[in-house]
């Protein structure tokens, strides 16, 4: 029995585990699939949105910058065309022109200069003293002489400040001359410096050599890593107006780059932002989703675990009850067949005993005859025959008891008197009690109403309790008191012994099936659980109070309204 209990434990554990796994799997799989799908879709569309936004932004600024450069070039060209080399060589005239330009466009134009074919600046207007400076070896001069309009990269030049030059070439009397203007670096820088998104998004301009044409917001080294990569990739895909890429920087930080060529591919407008920053909204919702998913996961697993455990607990309980019921059925069946056997034996024994008693009686009759009247042993004969009759009567009583017990092992509901039923059961146990040196006291109330219930079941309950008490007191004897009374509409039957008592540790388990303290083979551990089952079935309750060394009292409480007889005693209920 114990082995199979252990197996049952494993079985229930497996059942619990399988249920938990199944519930968790079925609940989580669609959750994760749906969440993943939605997140993926959201990520895709969000990325498209960000890219579109950045593309538009960069395109707009590229146009702005291109327009700015073209307009400045156009300004200078118009100046060079409107006036002659001679007029512009006049420094005060040039000063006026610069003032006019600055009036019109603000401090964009820093200075103006007129340079002749040999590279000599013949006239200069501006804050620096650069009159008669020689530019023949300057890179911008050589390149400006080759084309008729030129915008230089940003460089320090003679003045030692970052600036760039817008130059146009015109001819005067067969000789080329150049009108050049310096564009204020700060004013130009503002064009890109205003492109700021989020915490890490900023823009800058690079030239073909990877040198900054504007002051970047962050300290970055353009000649290295991703920037070179960017320049190269841009050269190869130079026709596209805007290109977007992602690259991992030196510190392992992922950046998103949006690049667009400026000034016919000489310059590159680059917008840079950390991916985490650009997608911060997405990452926030991803984090929220993850937290929700995790909480959901924990909730599902917890629920699955609790639910499974509770359900398996119920199943186990139902199994136990079923098992107990089976045992009870077997027990009842056994008792019934024992009863039948007893009835058969009792009846068969009765006839021979009757014959023996009659034969003894016949001998007694014969002793009355004259011949024996003076027999020396007549007295002894009489005594012996008397003894035979007495023992015959004893046999009769035993068989009658057996028969009356066997007759009542049915489950039929009968109407009977409680006190009489108890007396009958006690009479059955009287012999055992005598051997165990136990005195039985009855304290039965006679005013109890008749009850309707299965007498066999009541017998079973009481006999179990009495037998337990007698078992407990077998060694040192004691007294057993059985009392019945009515208390507030409840029938109370108490079986109290003054035996060794039940240890507190066992008290909570005595009604459990298979719990027994009797030696192996002596008790099934079912007696009290059957009692419990029967009393509960009748709508009552069975309680135990026990003190070690003092004794044990079992109290059966059954509400009388559940079992009270409705009609008269004659009605035999079914």
């Amino acid at each position: 029995m114990r082995g199979s209990l252990k197996e049952l434990g494993v079985y229930y554990r497996n059942l619990t585990r399988n249920m938990v796994l199944l519930i968790t799997f079925v609940s989580i799989t669609p959750m994760i699939l749906v969440s993943g799908l939605i997140l993926f879709q959201f990520h895709t569309s969000f990325q498209e949105k960000v890219h579109a936004h950045l593309t538009t932004l960069v395109k707009k600024h590229k146009q702005n910058i291109d327009t700015f450069l073209k307009e400045r070039l156009a300004d200078i060209r118009q100046l060079a065309r409107t006036f002659t080399f001679e007029e512009l060589s006049n420094e005060s005239f040039l000063q006026d022109r610069l003032a006019t330009l600055q009036d019109e466009f603000g401090p964009v134009f820093v200075d103006l200069g007129v340079v002749n074919a040999r590279g000599l600046q013949v006239a200069y207007a501006g804050p620096f003293k650069l009159g008669m400076a020689l530019y023949s070896t300057a890179d911008w001069f050589q390149r400006a002489m080759k084309s008729n309009a030129f915008i230089s990269d940003v460089f320090l030049g003679l003045r030692g400040l970052p600036h760039f030059i817008v130059a146009v070439r015109e001819n005067w009397r067969g000789d080329p001359w150049i009108l050049r203007a310096t564009i204020d670096f700060v004013a130009f820088n503002n064009l890109v410096e205003h492109i700021r998104i989020g915490e890490t998004g900023f823009a800058f301009i690079l030239n073909r050599n990877g040198e900054f044409q504007t002051k970047p917001f962050q300290e970055i080294v353009p000649g290295k890593g991703p920037y070179l990569e960017l320049l190269r990739s841009d050269n190869s895909a130079g026709e596209r107006p805007v290109s977007i890429g992602r690259m991992t920087g030196e510190a392992g930080v992922k950046n998103i780059f949006v690049a667009s060529p400026l000034k016919e591919g000489d310059w590159l407008l680059v917008y840079q932002q950390k991916v985490s920053d650009a997608f911060s909204d997405f990452e926030r919702s991803l984090r929220v989703t993850m937290v929700v998913l995790l909480l959901g996961l924990i909730a599902i697993v917890t629920t699955a675990f609790l639910l499974s455990r509770r359900m398996v607990g119920r199943i186990a309980k139902a199994d136990r009850e079923k098992h107990m019921m089976n045992e009870q059925v077997v027990e009842t069946g056994k008792l019934a067949s024992v009863g039948e056997l007893a009835a058969g034996i009792a009846h068969e024994i009765n006839n021979p005993v009757a014959i023996m008693v009659e034969e003894a009686g016949w001998i007694e009759d014969l002793l009355e005859e004259e011949d024996f009247k003076d027999g020396a042993n007549l007295k002894e004969f009489r005594r012996a025959l008397n003894q035979i009759r007495t023992q015959g009567k004893r046999c009769k009583e035993i068989t009658h008891k057996l028969l009356s017990f066997a007759r009542k092992t049915d489950e039929r509901v009968q109407e009977f008197r409680i006190d009489e039923a108890i007396q009958e059961i006690v009479a059955l146990s009287a012999q055992r009690a005598k051997y165990s040196n136990v005195t039985v006291k009855l304290n039965l109330s006679e005013d109890l109403p008749n009850v309707r219930l299965s007498q066999a079941e009541l017998q079973q309950v009481l006999l179990n309790l009495i037998n337990n008490a007698l078992d407990a007191m077998e060694k040192q004897g004691g007294s057993l008191e059985i009392s019945s009374r009515e208390e507030e509409g409840i029938l109370m039957i108490e079986v109290a012994d003054n035996g060794p008592g039940i240890p507190a540790a066992n008290l909570g388990r005595i009604f459990d099936p298979f719990f027994t303290t009797k030696p192996v083979g002596k008790g099934t551990g079912l007696g009290l659980s059957i009692c419990y089952g029967i009393v509960k079935k009748l709508g009552g309750d069975i309680e135990v109070a026990s003190t070690v060394g003092v004794g044990t009292t079992f109290r059966i409480k059954i509400p009388l309204e559940m079992i009270k007889a409705q009609g008269s005693l004659n009605g035999k209920g079914e």
């Binding site: 009792a346 009846h347 009765n350 006839n351 005993v353 009757a354 014959i355 023996m356 008693v357 009659e358 034969e359 009686g361 016949w362 009759d365 015959g392 009567k393 009769k396 068989t399 009658h400 028969l403 009356s404 007759r407």
Partner: protein, 143 residues
């Protein structure tokens, strides 16, 4: 003259034999039968039987059936039932069918003798009453 004329019916032959001896010794005229059928046959031949001592549990025709038959055919014959074990049902059944009394085996001889005498007395009383009634009828007719 004997105290009463009885018939003993039981399937246990040794029981019947011993009882017959004992009852005869107590001044009863005893005939015996070992089944219900035998008992009815014997009664048909011998109308003088006053009291039938009948075992309830017998193979074939049992005590209750035999009782019913006896009471139907010979209503004045009294029947004392004997049984191995008293069941309320068979006792009630027997009493309803007109048995004089009910005794449990093995029974005390004195008790049995008392019952038999009472039963015989009752039977004779009944018979006397019937005879009286007849006489009265006859005498009143003559008058």
């Amino acid at each position: 003259m004997a105290l009463a004329k009885v018939m003993l019916v039981d399937d246990e032959v040794p029981f019947v034999e011993t009882m017959t001896k004992r009852l005869t010794k107590r001044d009863l005229t005893v005939t015996s039968a070992f089944s219900g059928k035998d008992a009815l046959d014997a009664l048909a031949k011998d109308q003088a039987v006053e009291v039938v001592i009948l075992d309830v549990k017998m193979p074939g025709m049992d005590g209750i059936d035999t009782l019913r038959e006896i009471k139907r055919l010979y209503p004045l014959v009294e029947v004392v039932m004997l049984t191995g074990h008293a069941t309320v049902e068979s006792a009630i059944e027997g009493m309803k069918l007109g048995a004089f009394d009910y005794l449990m085996k093995p029974c005390d001889m004195e008790v049995l003798m008392g019952k038999v005498q009472e039963a015989a007395a009752k039977k004779r009383q009944h018979e006397n009453k019937i005879i009286d009634a007849r006489l009265k009828e006859i005498t009143s007719r003559r008058a």
